[in-house]
């Protein structure tokens, strides 16, 4: 197994700048998700790591070795695609063993490794079945089997669960992460689904317009988004963003929002008066009649244990998560309070997060 290093990677397709100075490191045994909307450059980045595209500039290292110009077949990686490309005329056993057969490995060794891969994926009972009759999840397991049987240095996966329905996808998320924990193979996983990334990754690299906006643990990405884009992309519903105009002194512990003071994590930098944005996660909003922001209930969405309440305010529609036991009526006036130690502040123009006590000791922001 091996570390993957991506340094200052660039990719142009004609005049289109698909990937801009992307840098990150996937440590040996780590599971990294490249997360972003369609067209953000995540798949192009993955394909460059795989050797399916050549970068316009930059370096890719595998286990310390510069492989930037190596062919895909010389990189010792396994690629798992979104669509299960299985050979329809072969049974499960032959599908899984196929890559080994191509490498000219002895039949006995192939059999041993296929059986092992099937055991890890819990599809031993399917080995002699034709792949055509298999359910979506099982087909994806066979596709994974074909990747792990080669024992590559690392796995590259491009939205492998995209074609499955919700329930199957949730089951496969658990399975993939458990599989990773057993094999410990360095993995780069591309997805546009933040829930997949949050549930599986050790580290998430969020991409937007070809730029890597933040590389951090799921928890940091969620709690301490480095930019407005990340704050808005992560979370369902995403972070509430309240625009306001104001200045900040280093050490300031409150901002002025309308006529009210709102407590914030102490600022670590000073800012002249400018357009700023206050970021509040839905679960950090509390309903109270004395609340500093008032608004009207627009709707509530029941989710069982919790509910999402949408409130229209002078700062736009805010979404709050509350216990499902509380009852709200459309049109009702409510007051909202924010949990001070969790708030983020962004510079509107650059989108950059302002450094505060929230980032204590961290390398973010």
């Amino acid at each position: 197994m091996a570390e993957i290093g991506v340094e200052a990677l660039e990719k142009f397709f004609g005049t289109f700048h698909a990937v801009k100075a992307a840098s990150f490191t996937v440590e040996d045994g780590q599971f990294l998700c490249l997360l972003g909307p369609s067209g953000c450059g995540k798949t192009t980045t993955l394909r460059m790591i795989a050797g399916l595209e050549l970068p316009s500039a930059g370096t890719i290292r595998l286990g310390g070795e510069d492989v930037t110009m190596n062919r895909a077949s010389a990189r010792d990686i396994a690629f798992v695609f979104q669509l299960f490309a299985l050979y329809p005329h072969m049974n499960v056993r032959r599908n899984i063993g196929f890559p080994l057969k191509c490498e000219g490995i002895a039949a006995k060794e192939i059999e041993r490794r296929v059986v092992e891969a099937a055991r890890i994926l819990r599809i031993s009972h399917l080995l002699d079945r034709p792949v055509s009759g298999l359910a979506g999840g099982d087909r994806q397991r066979v596709a994974l089997g074909r990747a792990i049987v080669r024992k590559p240095k690392c796995f590259l996966m491009d939205e492998p669960l995209g074609a499955l329905d919700t329930e199957m996808r949730e089951a496969m998320i658990r399975e993939l992460r458990a599989l990773h924990d057993r094999l410990g193979a360095t993995t780069v996983y591309v997805t546009h689904d933040q829930l997949e990334a949050m549930a599986m990754a050790d580290v998430i690299a969020v991409m937007n317009n070809g730029v890597v906006e933040q590389v951090a643990s799921p928890r940091d990405i969620y709690d301490r988004p480095a930019s407005l884009f990340v704050a808005d992309f992560i979370g369902s519903p995403p972070m509430n963003l309240l625009p306001f105009r104001g200045s900040l002194e280093a050490g300031a512990q409150a901002i002025r929002l309308g006529e009210r003071e709102v407590a914030i994590p102490a600022a670590r930098e000073a800012l002249a008066e400018s357009d700023l944005v206050l970021g509040v996660r839905p679960e950090h909003i509390r309903f109270t009649d004395r609340g500093m922001v008032r608004g009207e209930v627009y709707g509530s969405e029941y989710l069982g244990t919790t509910q999402i309440v949408t409130v229209t305010t002078r700062y736009g529609a805010l979404k709050a998560r509350s216990a499902a036991s509380l009852s709200f009526h459309i049109g009702e006036t409510v007051g909202l309070d924010f949990r001070p130690d969790t708030l983020s502040i962004f510079d509107q123009q650059s989108g950059r997060a302002i450094r505060t006590a929230l980032h204590q000791g961290g390398a973010h922001g």
Binding site: D193, M198, R219, D232, G304
Partner: protein, 335 residues
């Protein structure tokens, strides 16, 4: 808008039963969601109502009239498909106006304009009306597809996973919008989905469907709090309900094989107790953290209290409050 009744309808394709003796009434102005996995018979049910399939048995009634033998065009239904199929050479306005321009409808031009503009406003695409339909984002195209159905005032809207091609953020926004529009228009909707969040947040009632059978129908709260069996219980709720062997806890009613425990049924405290478990993992999903426990070899997943500061390896005690009980067949037993 009108009441739609599906009466004891069955449909098989060759030897495969798709829908089996299914009865369901969608009340006038009601939003009913059929929730089930791929292959459960949801889409077939929708197509039977639309007249795109003929039932082998049973009947379909719309507004009190038996339409079982009627062609789709004579049923006064509007269908929204999962894959939006817009006319690429037409503008958004013309796409939305298309159904109203059918010769048999004879809608006056001024009325068409009024209706299209009204619906475009509801869907927040009023500024896109002169755009070519193909010069839109996926989310906007899907809004146009929904808009095309909304400009008509049919007896019922039939929607087949209309949001599944949208990304998570847009899907969340559209859920709220669609529900709002339905309430404002008093529209009758039969909506098919495999996404429990869509069903829970939009539907007046949810029908849980499995292998062509309607297992239970009720309000989201009824289905969530009072499922008739373990299968239904596991369809709603995140994390999924824990189905635990009855032997692990004392006090279950006679005949209980499985105890169903959701987050709100579980009280977790640090240190061992009558029933103890070990923390195996805490999964930070952002808005919620899932606490994974090992209860005598049995995995338990619950929402973790962010203030509890538990870590892997910690021993905790578990207490149940009003959990659900199921017998050997998975059927619910009263507490």
């Amino acid at each position: 808008m009108a009441e739609v009744e599906i009466v004891a309808v069955s449909k098989a394709f060759n030897k495969t039963t798709a829908v089996s003796a299914l009865s369901l009434t969608v009340g006038d102005g009601e939003f009913v969601a059929l929730l089930g996995p791929t292959g459960a018979g949801k889409t077939t049910t929708l197509r039977l109502v639309a007249g795109l399939e003929m039932p082998d048995l049973g009947s379909i009634r719309i507004g009190g009239r038996d339409v079982t033998g009627d062609a789709p065009a004579d049923r006064d239904v509007a269908f929204v498909f999962q894959q939006y199929s817009l006319y690429p050479h037409l503008t958004v306005f013309e796409n939305m106006a298309f159904a109203l321009r059918a010769p048999i409808r004879r809608v006056p031009e001024a009325e068409i304009r009024r209706k299209v503009e009204e619906v475009a406003g509801l869907l927040h695409i009023e500024t896109k009306l002169t755009n070519k339909a193909t010069h839109l984002s996926g989310g906007q195209m899907q809004r146009v597809a929904i808009g095309r159905a909304l400009v008509r005032s049919p007896a019922i809207y039939l929607m087949d996973e209309p949001l599944s091609s949208l990304d998570a953020k847009l899907r969340g926004e559209m859920r709220l919008e669609l529900k709002r529009i339905q309430t404002d228009l008093g529209a009758t909707i039969l909506y098919v989905t495999h996404d429990q969040t869509e069903a829970m947040t939009m539907a007046s009632r949810i029908g849980v469907i499995e292998a062509g059978r309607l297992l239970q129908i009720g309000t989201p709260r009824e289905i969530y709090q009072n499922p008739i069996n373990a299968y239904v219980a596991a369809r709603l709720g995140q994390p999924t309900i824990n189905l635990l062997p009855a032997t692990l806890f004392a006090g279950a009613p006679r005949g209980t094989r499985t105890i169903g425990a959701r987050t709100e049924h579980l009280t977790i405290a640090r240190g061992s107790g009558e029933v103890s478990a070990t923390v195996t993992r805490i999964e930070h999903l952002g808005d919620q953290s899932h606490l994974h426990l090992d209860l005598g070899g049995q995995p338990v997943v619950t929402l973790s209290d962010p203030e509890a500061e538990l870590a892997a390896g910690d021993v905790v005690s578990l207490r149940l409050t009003n959990p659900l009980f199921f017998d050997a067949d998975g059927a619910r037993i009263a507490a």
